[in-house]
Symmetry: C2
Subunit: 255 residues, 2 copies
């Protein structure tokens, strides 16, 4: 399906699920929305930690995308949003129109769902897509470079990969540096502070077969994890896995 058509469905309330596996070949993005007074610091923070938070677009004084999907309404064209107050998710909604003020700045951040089409085309199947669930995501002990008020730990997404395709998965995803690029950890979740791989902090658990190795990519849910430490009074985020599906093609970001 075309992204525009898909977003129309979302806006009409017909779709409120994780977007992995939908709109093959289209760039997907994380969303992070905060009041203007924090925006400059966050922009620098994201730049300093661009493997986790590659900024694709910043929208000020508007709620419409200009670059990723010109005219798309960011207030209702994502499947699910979180309202975060003082570091706590207080509401989860399919529409955030009532919260919009011109004081809000929208950050759209690269998402690893973007390179999933490429993985599948290279015969590297994706368990969460095949199971029809959300990708598992974990808080780690990987410290982000602090900037201004912002600091915290990286979140990663996990995909189990057949042992003989692990190197290929690294190579395929290396071509998408703006969508997190290569894995930050290959195997050995305990090395990055993940204690129980069967209980992700965000998203759903997936099966790992005996001949598979878990690969971990930096994840655009990282800013949401940061909010737990940096308790901004108000922020809006996409709900993990429920991404903004843009009009850009993954090939536009292939290097």
């Amino acid at each position: 399906m075309e992204a525009k058509e898909f977003r129309k469905q979302i806006a009409s309330g017909e779709f409120a699920k994780p977007t992995a596996g939908y709109c093959e070949g289209y760039v997907q993005a994380n969303m992070f929305v905060i009041p203007k007074e924090y925006a400059d610091d966050f922009e620098k923070f994201a730049k300093a930690n661009s493997k986790a938070m590659p900024v694709l677009e910043i929208i000020k004084d508007s709620y419409q995308s200009k670059i990723l999907a010109p005219g798309a309404n960011l207030l209702n064209e994502l499947p699910l949003y979180n309202i975060v107050e003082n570091g706590v998710v207080t509401q989860t909604l399919t529409n955030i129109e009532e919260f919009y003020t011109q004081d809000l700045v929208f950050f759209l951040i690269g998402c690893s769902f973007t390179f999933e089409t490429s993985l599948v085309k290279n015969n590297i199947p994706l368990r969460h897509v095949d199971m029809g669930v959300n990708v598992p995501m974990y808080s780690t002990n990987i410290k982000l470079k602090p900037v201004g008020i912002f600091h915290g730990d990286m979140v990663v997404s996990m995909r189990p990969i057949k042992k003989e395709r692990v190197a290929d998965a690294c190579v395929v995803t290396s071509h998408y540096p703006n969508m997190h690029g290569t894995p930050i950890q290959v195997g050995y979740p305990e090395m990055i502070g993940i204690r129980d791989i069967h209980h992700p902090d965000y998203g759903d658990a997936v099966r790992i077969e005996a001949d598979e190795i878990p690969l971990f990519w930096p994840c655009g849910v990282t800013p949401q994890n940061v909010l737990k430490d940096v308790k901004l009074p108000f922020a809006i985020t996409h709900a993990p896995g429920h991404m903004f599906v843009s009009d850009k093609k993954d090939s536009d970001y292939y290097v």
Copy 2:
């Protein structure tokens, strides 16, 4: 040092050690020498298993390289050779002139030492080079595709890589498909039948730090392992780690 100069030292008997870390930027090759009657089968076998045995040059009716190092004498310009009779190494020598007959066919096969310069330039240090020992190599349970009389299991070389550089090591080495390319296994030696990583089957053991992951690349010692199963009456090989250092540059084989 230039490869030609280095080979001169070897021919004069001044150098009989593993060649990892020597002649930065020059292509290194495995050597496998067998009687003509087996050569066609072996060529097809190598082609069918080119990740383990990428053939760079075949020399018939001569003992001199024509492509990798025109005029180089393959009988004394490698540091160390094994004579293999009925699958058993019967002699290890620095010179094989006395064994040469026109019936012998020389195969020069890509070697992972070739991409080591690239790894180091990308700030991925190599433990065996830093320790001044041979790279550790292991027999595995990875079955080769059989062709004619040839069959057997793959040999791999191992390098411990810092956990945050694992994906980069995969990407860097992917550019050298004729030198084995990407790792065949990342972490988890037991998945490919390696029981004790501290006791390699060929070469030397190296230290693995707590924040390192062992990466395994297909190895050109594979044909020597094959000889243990396919007991040809006579063959000559380089001694593992003691490679033919050619005049070609690694950049000639970068894709």
